[in-house]
Amino acid sequence: MSWEWELTRLLTAWLVGLFLSLAGSIIQLTTRNELASPSTLGMDGVAVGVVLVLYAVGAPTDAARLCIGVGLALLLWMIPWRWSPGNEAVSGNHVVLAGLALNLFVGAVFSLMHFLAMAFDRDFPSELWFGRMTPLGPLGVGGAVLWLAVAVILVVRRRRSWQAMLLGPAWARGWGVPVDQLTKEALWLAFTLNLWVTMHFGAFSFLGLMMPLVLRMLPRFRGHARREMTEGALWSGLAFALLDHACYNFTFHGAEVPVGLPFALLGTFVLVTLLLVRGRTASLGKNA
């Protein structure tokens, strides 16, 4: 058995892991809920919907992914919406319920389309549900660099604010953190990162829930929001890329083991561990 390095795939997988870890961290910080993720906020549903539309029009190209991604990101940035954590006109729980409803609906549409594709013998992107790395062409790499640059700018620019958010929005506001604007930027960034991941890999944002939880198990990242969002995201990305490469190299009866499989098992282990460790204090997912 020989180990092959495929650099484009390694880069794509590294970005997938990095983006999901970062998206999870900023969502959990913003909503003050350790069980929040792009998935529970419905971002998965929207992203899968977008990809299904792309497939309905034709097999998506890098150019189509880039145009749709940038277009949606710009549109979402320009819409004057706001969510004020701390002054709960709309509470985190409302948003989570709406997000889960949306995810379920998109799941139903996905199943229906899958069923119709089978009935009429048409191709269907079923890998969207269990993940498949899309090889990046030059435009794909350009798009990835653009996404990464936006994420770095937003995270670095607000580094002190993110740290302050560890104490909750009320305290952060008291330190002069523009919490409403920060929340908007956070949700926008999480959505765009998750959209990129869904378009290039699949609906895997449960990793965005799990990765920050794993990082916070390590003393180095506990109480260090900024470190978790930078160094932690880089390590998460690397771990994901290496595991993906292992799956790429170790096939079973000629079939590549989906990387979601070991990660789902790892996620189960992490959540059960948290349940056992923190169950007594009942602090998991507690809203402040």
Partner: protein, 194 residues
């Protein structure tokens, strides 16, 4: 001096009075009233209005921090990092000197603190920074006599230095140190000075 004036109709919360309130430097205001009269509603309204002003510090009744597995030491590391020039209390050794008792639970996660310890950490977070006006919602809740006395000592020090402290409390305040009190009165249709 801070003049707070707003009509009932301007409020987001169901508050039954118009508010006309003057806060002068060096004063302690006690916002008193029976349960349900709207003390915390008014507090929350003011927090929403003034919470982002750099010179006001609000301590509400909510849980201490979202991440309950953070230790007290980690919480204070964040406080000192983000407070920047507003930092008042210096680092560990001085804080320990001021409240040596709390030293024993510095490394304890927030979720393992008692109600009173939680409340004291929250108050110490406020005490660790500079401000001109302090808003404390039920600050004596769950505090033992020794820590309540420390809180009174701190309030005295703040007002002696020309700062203003406002607190809500349902019971009797320690009248000998309150320079000014304020009572919400149902029926008067306004928040008035007593």
């Amino acid at each position: 001096m801070l003049q707070i004036k707003f009509k009932e109709a301007q409020l987001k919360v169901p508050w039954r009075w118009d508010v006309d309130w003057s806060l002068r430097p060096g004063q302690v205001h006690w916002l008193a009233g029976a349960n349900g009269v709207g003390k915390t509603s008014l507090f929350n309204e003011l927090k929403a209005r003034f919470g982002a002003r750099g010179d006001m510090v609000f301590v509400d009744q909510g849980p201490l921090a979202p991440y309950q597995d953070l230790t007290v030491a980690q919480v204070f590391a964040v406080v000192w990092e983000v407070a920047g020039p507003r930092q008042r209390l210096p680092r560990w050794q001085d804080l320990d000197e001021w409240d040596a008792e709390s030293r024993s639970w510095w490394e304890r996660p927030l979720s393992r603190l008692s109600g009173g310890q939680n409340q004291w950490v929250k108050l110490m977070m406020a005490m660790a920074v500079r401000g001109e006006c302090w808003w404390l919602d039920e600050p004596f809740q769950a505090l033992d006599a020794a820590h309540a006395e420390k809180l009174w000592h701190w309030i005295r020090r703040r007002t002696n230095e020309g700062e203003t402290v406002v607190y809500t409390h349902h019971g009797d305040p320690a009248a000998n140190v309150v320079g000014w009190s304020l009572t919400t009165r149902d029926g008067s249709k306004s928040v008035v000075s007593a």
